[in-house]
Symmetry: C2
Subunit: 333 residues, 2 copies
């Protein structure tokens, strides 16, 4: 390669790394030679010799396929534009030695950065291990100690507040709340938003209408049963994610409650299924893919050091039939 271009191997390196102080002609020669030979530098050699590995790791422990796929798509597109590659690694965050596994990963792969998704983003042992290795990481949607490291999130509390506010304005006074997985930081913030909306209107939510959930469809079914078979059942239910909202809807169906006439339901995430069920589900869209892309960029640009940026992206409230705000029928697209 260096030979074809008629320059030293080092100069090729300079051109390909966009270093300064290379004459335009040399640069052109090298680029032409590289193009004609389909030359691409070997990542292992680069990693071994230099400071960067061109590898970003995406760590997850999350049951939601849609969430991960979105995340991955965002992270990947940022990687590609930066010439990076994405290594994905699921982790059992409840396992005994997550931090060791994560540390091993960093040592073995010399990743230039890690993207931590919930609930890994709130695992103190993992954060400690990464700090010890001085491995850059970005926490997606952290709940606890939001000041640690760089973070990317949406305003979970504000989003929940806003949508709950809307339900109250629509006249709902007894609103059920299905909590999220207790280990996800977002769960707490969403709960806070829910309560804050009630405070704004001087309402006191009934504690019996706040039931636990695990972010899964089945836990939504359980929660739905508890709420809708309650003697004084709520007229609306806020589920902390779409999967659970669907669980609630299935219970409503079984009980013959018509939505939204007898029951409004809202979710969180805007999963593909939310648009497919009937009535279509009112929900909150997080820009998951953008969040991952943003995190990846921060990692690539090395913006994780002292100044530890905290990006907050915009959410979007999607009004649909399950609250009587969108088309009831049809597959309105």
């Amino acid at each position: 390669m260096a030979h074809t271009a008629g320059v030293s191997i080092k100069t090729v390196s300079r051109v390909l790394n966009r270093e300064r102080n290379v004459s335009p002609e040399t640069r052109a020669h090298v680029l032409a030679a590289a193009a004609s030979l389909n030359y691409t530098p070997n990542v292992s050699a680069r990693s071994l010799a230099g400071a960067r590995s061109y590898l970003i790791a995406l760590l997850y422990d999350n049951p939601s396929a849609a969430y991960i796929a979105d995340l991955q798509a965002g992270a990947f597109s940022a990687c590609r534009t930066g010439g990076y590659h994405l290594v994905v690694e699921p982790f059992d965050s409840t396992g005994p030695a997550v931090e060791q596994a994560v540390a091993d990963l960093v040592v073995k792969l010399r990743t230039d950065g890690l993207i931590l998704t919930p609930p890994l983003s709130d695992n103190p042992a993992v954060l400690d291990a990464l700090d010890r290795l001085a491995a850059p990481y970005i926490r997606i949607a952290p709940g606890a100690s939001p000041e640690r490291g760089a973070t990317v999130s949406i305003d979970d509390c504000g989003a929940t507040l806003e949508l709950t506010r809307m339900l109250i304005r629509d006249g709902h006074r007894r609103i059920g709340f299905v909590e999220g997985h207790p280990e996800h930081g977002a769960s707490r913030m969403r709960r806070e938003g829910f309560l804050a909306a009630h405070r704004e209107f001087g309402l006191a939510p009934d504690p019996e209408l706040i039931v636990p959930g695990q972010f899964s469809f089945l836990s939504g079914v359980d929660a739905g049963s508890r709420l809708l078979e309650h003697e004084d059942r709520p007229s609306a239910v806020f589920a902390c994610n779409d999967d659970m909202a669907l669980g609630v809807m299935s219970v409503a169906n079984r009980l013959g409650l018509s939505m939204p006439a007898q029951l409004s339901v809202v979710g969180f995430d805007d999963t593909p299924t939310a648009r497919v069920v009937w009535p279509q589900l009112t929900t909150i869209r997080q820009p998951v893919s953008e969040m991952a892309a943003s995190a990846t960029q921060m990692l690539i640009e090395g913006a994780t050091g002292e100044k530890a940026e905290h990006r907050q992206l915009d959410f979007e409230i999607i009004l649909r039939g399950s609250t009587g705000h969108g088309p009831y029928l049809g597959v309105g697209f």
Copy 2:
């Protein structure tokens, strides 16, 4: 590390690579030292010096998040037990230079193997490029030229045959068929199965009831409209995947057709949504995760050479409410 164990760096390498001709005591010493130091060999250095990179790439161009997530889970678990890492790369298989992009990936990362998922697994240009580089690959669910390279698949034709047979036995005589994405090899095989079932019973399917699809919800809606608004509409519809089946169901809903009384619908894939809609969808479960795990293992064991294995895993027919065979609980449309 070598120092702690009191042996040469080469001996450490031997122990960690499970080479023969190391005395048991030395092996024990080295392993103890490695454990106490949390030592893990650097992947880049290994890749650079040796023949293996400990990297497997999973290539996809597939809209279905659930499919990819399952694939990834399977590939990952096989990677972990083998000490490998998984690099995922989406590709636009319709793009102009997929094969170049894939080739670059192989050169840059020196991956030990690639997993090609549909429709990439049927892209001849990509296969050619990989053959040229002598890069091992496994094709998941290939359609065309199934003899090329090693493959992992299910019997798409047989699965469709079996489920269609069941519909016919249930008394259906006019059965609609929503074809899959034309670039996916499985589409053709499923179509064949559908036709074969008709032949078995001496039936001739109405060509007007065989309509194209793209594997997407929307294309299912289109197909559903064509089929169900037909003057002599079918009493059952076989959709080549669940997403399209859901599209058909949403049209049935709009037209006020009750399922399964007036219309039976079946899909293919057993996506999570299939269990969530009402009535729940009868479908065919592919062991996607096992397929990926199997492919990964073949790659790690280097079983892709001359003898080019062709593994076929078992499918499972899941009977549910949309054909009147299972419980009705679920979310409505």
